[in-house]
Amino acid sequence: MCGMTITEKILARASNRERVAAGDVVFASVDKVMVHDVSGPGVMMVLRELERKGKRIERVWDSDRVWIAEDHFVPAVDKIAAENIMTLERMSERFGIKKHFKYGMGQYGICHTLSHEEAMVLPGEVYVGGDSHTNTTGALGCFATGMGHTDIAYVLIHGRIWFRVPETLLFKLEGSIPPYIMAKDIILKIIGDNGTDIANYKAMQFAGSAIAEMPMDERFTLTNMTTEAGAKNGIIEPDERTIAYVKERTDRPFKAVKGDEDAEYEEIFTYEVNRLEPIVAKPHSPANISYARELSSIEVDRAYIGSCTGAKYTDLLEAARIIKGKKAKVRLEVLPASQSIYMRALNDGLLSIFLEAGAVIGPPTCGACCGAHMGVLAKDEVCVSTTNRNFPGRMGHVESKTYLASPKVVAASAVTGRITDPRDV
């Protein structure tokens, strides 16, 4: 009998079993659950429907395990968005949910940034969120996955939900990371090589010497975009860096989990990262990749630095290093992923670098990444973006074009007005 992967071990613990194997269907207890201004109102709608059927929900299973983010349409873009924020206010009030990050009241931001910045989730936990990029948090060594609002409502009431234990695809990233390469290049390469459904229903786990040297911010970019490969969860076994990161942010106890030596992986992929070149995903799929240098004739109208995958502190820092002392040739937008990142970028002078280059700095929000607001694209507009999706209409008009790239490539492209390899500026 072979051992278990980290994902299997976490789900075995959460379902009170000695062991689970890929393909098993289990009802597992959930440690943390998150809703935001899109999924929260959806959850409340489900609860209203239950009430209409005569089942009023007086309390959630554990209000200390529930947290709320405001990120998609904030600051409220219109009356409907404002009403949704009021729904979240009523939700946290009614159920006594203390961790509600409100814009304009200190720390707030994109849920997939707060989850780790604020240590809302800990290594070894089962975490579900009402957003597909919940996978991001798996870089802490937890089982993190996204769900719709009916499932989240079920978890709020019962504290448990069904999971099919996923097979694990192991991606071994070996070698040292060249200075012009970021985690975004690596994950775009993986998705481009293998397709947007290679990991459907499965776990994507990352390991190898490149992971060992990778800062946490970069690891979150890898797990974030496992969603674009269809993965149920992305995960990285916790190491000293992970533990130190979490302990800097909380003194709550946790139990870090690692997979067994003889765990079974469905497939193992090896990437030599020292050989990678900067990569860009062309419209309209994250798998539609080219090298940045092959696209140097593509003129862009906009450069966008934002979102859960591309506006962490490290993302802003790397972009600022390229832009420093230069002017942007095209419209440049920078939206830090959280209030704390915003403040740190302000105090460290990064925001001055962007402002002097001509950029507009926006508030922490999902913003134009999901076509919500803060610079959505017009018909035929071309944007090079640090975000994670470029489906038709994702960032605005269905005939706009989004090229996905690392913060370094986006910064270099902002400076030249064309898609540009960071080595060429």
Binding site: D151, A372, R389
Partner: protein, 162 residues
């Protein structure tokens, strides 16, 4: 047993942003969402669909976001089942747990031979898709036991775990 007419979109990776574009995510009214179903791909979709109709598509249907708005918009536009070569996991889960529509996995033969406008009958007891227009029968991939029980219960909230 469900019966309806097919709207065929012969492509892979039909994502949630074309099923219901991002700006509509703040809308919670199901009938309002339905007015914008498939807006990113086919502006005439809503006009064409009749209650009970089906969508036929390729691989990885519903990839992208966790927005439950996607199966809601399709369901309230009239779609009772999506037949596809494969489904993205969250769309599949949402469709079943919210009891909005049936996600039916079909094979390449069914995908290639069923045409836009064909009349189909789906038989969940026999795991069959019958093409009334062409007088052909295809197998559908049976639902895993738990999924089948949730569907029969009418969604996750009506299902009692053993």
């Amino acid at each position: 047993m469900v019966r309806g007419r097919v709207h065929k979109y012969a492509r892979d990776n039909i994502d949630t942003d074309v099923i219901i574009p991002g700006p509509y995510l703040k809308i919670m009214d199901h009938n309002e969402l339905a007015k914008h179903a498939m807006e990113g791909l086919d502006r005439d979709f809503v006009k064409k669909v009749k209650k009970g109709d089906f969508i036929l598509a390729g691989r990885n249907f519903g990839c992208g976001s966790s927005r439950e708005h996607a199966p809601i918009a399709l369901s309230y536009a009239g779609i009772s089942a999506v037949l596809a070569l494969s489904f993205a996991r969250i769309f599949y889960r949402n469709a079943v747990d919210g009891a909005y529509l049936l996600p039916i996995e079909i094979d390449e033969d069914a995908y290639n031979e069923i045409d836009d406008g064909d009349e189909l009958e789906i038989d969940l007891d026999k795991n069959e898709v019958r093409n009334i227009s062409k007088e052909k029968v295809y197998v559908m991939k049976p639902f895993p036991p738990l999924i089948k029980r949730i569907i029969e219960a009418g969604g996750l909230f009506n299902y009692t775990p053993e």
